[in-house]
Chain length 119, copies 4
């Protein structure tokens, strides 16, 4: 089920079923899920801890390294989906609304090629 055809609803349902099968909903408070997400984000970051930015781009050309990194990203994504389920929010709407808000906050002409606004 590739990105081209998989909806967020399908992915949310997969993690909902996983949690329900284990009766893990009582552990899935917003506080706990946000902690778990931060832990997984740190595990992803650890892959790139001692390298330069350019080296981090090269590293992921190694298939074994990329597979390890992809797995950490999946761990993060699973927490995002669990948060979506626990909080009852529509992730797609939320993400697209945030991108629209960011487009106003970071006007393309002022931020082109820069991560701070043009003076």
């Amino acid at each position: 089920m590739p990105d081209a055809t998989t909806t967020l609803a399908t992915l949310k349902e997969a993690v909902r079923q996983f949690a329900a099968d284990r009766q893990w909903e009582p552990f899935h408070s917003p506080k706990n899920l946000s902690m778990g997400l931060a832990v997984e984000a740190a595990e992803l970051m650890e892959h790139f801890l001692w390298v330069d930015n350019e080296a981090s781009r090269q590293m992921v050309h190694d298939p074994a390294e990329l597979a390890g990194v992809a797995e950490e990203i999946a761990d993060v994504a699973v927490y995002v989906l669990n948060l979506g389920n626990t909080l009852g929010i529509d992730l797609s709407e939320t993400i697209l609304a945030k991108i629209a808000k960011n487009a106003v906050k970071y006007p393309a002409e002022q931020y082109r090629g820069r991560y701070t606004a043009k003076p």
Copy 2:
């Protein structure tokens, strides 16, 4: 565009276009994106810093609080999507493969209602 019909490909394209419009690709090394993701995860976590698990469930009944939390989740998700683009990975396949792997690692009968295996 709700979760029921929005594909990962649609969301990835939205963040790809956003970055392209600002020529931000040079900043989007795996190292930087993993750091940014961890920063946003911490901002989400900060909402629930001083409360108990149960209180964190109550908090999100407040619409203004929920909106703030949802926005932080969107920030995290945007980094996940950017990582998917930069690394050229199919997020849906990766997520579903990880859920399948976790199902083997955490057999339902051993972990039902428990976050550690039954002794």
Copy 3:
């Protein structure tokens, strides 16, 4: 060398020597050290991921658990000391100045028993 008699200078010197013996200074950029610190903070947090606040207090009565937690705290502290060395800052002065600043930001009478200001 207990807390009662050990100065920050002694601890900073111990981590400086450790890094010098391995010629690790080139890896110790502020960016990398801040990432490493965040990774260790997440490893500490992971100990308390699925428990309630009260249970986290009980857990650390177990000597083996406490030893594991203490080791993660040490990992965090080593990064703080490395940052102090790399940046050439006096940690004691910095910490005491921040406590003084916080005392103004959080007046005791307004914040007594509360993590938000009295209305």
Copy 4:
């Protein structure tokens, strides 16, 4: 009170008094303190989010930037000290023991100038 003469006990006492004055001990569970530490670590990291390692070294030559960074490091350190108080652990002993353990784990001759062991 500079690093040359300030003991860990002095710093721990300063944060203990600060918390006692506000009756904040009930909030200072190990779980909450580990979350707060991770949040502050992320705020420190955010300073160096979009720059290369070398640029992060240059940034801190700017006194205003360095002051901002130093303040985030102090925030992290205050959480470490609070954890030391809450858990009743001797931080100096813990840190020095961890450095000794790391010296065995990372023999200088194998790790000189490398963050992975010589093949």
